[in-house]
């Protein structure tokens, strides 16, 4: 009897493995930055190369860092959500324009609207490497202590905002 149980048991174990794996997101890499101090950076702004934007400009308060580019189709898709979030005024959104063309980026902001309080131009992608960016769009939440609290990969939506960002933002506001 037990000789039949062995293959059945092995099969059940295999099914269990596949069941656990089937819903797991294999495209999204967990960020090692979560819970750690956000990288410090300083970059020229998208609008004006002479003007610098720096992480210290936003220190002391929570902020959202959104990595985008005009070559990124998903970024166009998420832009309306970013505008809506900016409209709510819960937290400033800082843009990092990643490996992009500055003129096109300026045109993008003029045509689609500008949800960002400031926009940093990372033409060489150096700051993006410090943030562990491997695709656009990516959106980070930094708390008032300057720690990275959350990272969302791919398009931002209102659903993601309310589910993943808002609770962490509120928790940060009341507990500290």
């Amino acid at each position: 009897m037990w000789r039949y149980l062995i293959p059945i048991g092995l099969f059940a174990a295999l099914v269990a493995f596949f069941y656990v794996g089937i819903d797991r997101d294999k495209q999204t890499l967990p960020s090692p930055l979560i819970g750690k101090p956000a990288p410090q950076w300083q970059l020229p702004s998208v609008e004006d190369p002479a003007k610098m934007v720096s992480s210290s400009d936003f220190a002391g308060k929570p902020y959202v860092l959104n990595v985008w580019a005009t070559w990124c189709a998903e970024c166009r898709h998420e832009h309306s959500a970013l505008l809506a979030i900016a409209q709510r005024g819960e937290v400033p959104i800082v843009g990092v324009d990643w490996k992009d063309d500055r003129d096109q980026a300026q045109r993008w902001l003029q045509q689609l609207g500008n949800p960002y309080v400031a926009n940093a131009y990372d033409g060489e992608g150096r700051v993006a490497i410090d943030w562990g960016v491997y695709g656009a769009p990516e959106t980070f939440l930094v708390d008032s202590q300057g720690n990275v609290v959350f990272k969302h990969i791919s398009s931002m939506t209102m659903e993601v905002w309310e589910r993943d960002f808002l609770p962490r933002l509120k928790g940060n506001g009341t507990s500290r």
Binding site: L29, P30, S31, P32, L33, K99, E124, G125, R126, A128, I129, D130, W131, G132, Y134, G135
Partner: protein
Amino acid sequence: MRRVLVIALLICVIPLARAIDTAPAFDDPAQQSRYNDLIHQLRCVQCRSQSIADSNVSLAADLRRQVRELMAAGKSDAQILQYMTDRYGDYVLYDPPVKPQTWLLWAAPLLFVIIGGITAVVVIVRKSRVAVDDPAETDPALAGSSDAGAP
């Protein structure tokens, strides 16, 4: 003879013609081989199934540039790999470290060898016992009857 040598040399150059890495070569061959080792150990996180040495995605080029700069800054191999894992996690390494989260990954081959070995031993022991216990095998008088159907 000389022509053969020239052709042989040209064949040696073929791998260089792939030119995924368009950055200039190092002057020091030791540094070049160190660089090659490093970029083969790092995964292109954007393209997943390639190392940053094999990928022409722009992020891979950025990471190769970063490796060069860190080498120029006098960082050790371990420091450079740490720099990458600090930013991209263990997934960036083709040779993941042994940790509680990865022990199953590392132990799996050994586990399968052990399971296979135990199965083989059990099967062999059982087969040999059956052969010994089978009267047909030990008693020549009964051998004919059990093989009656055989030609």
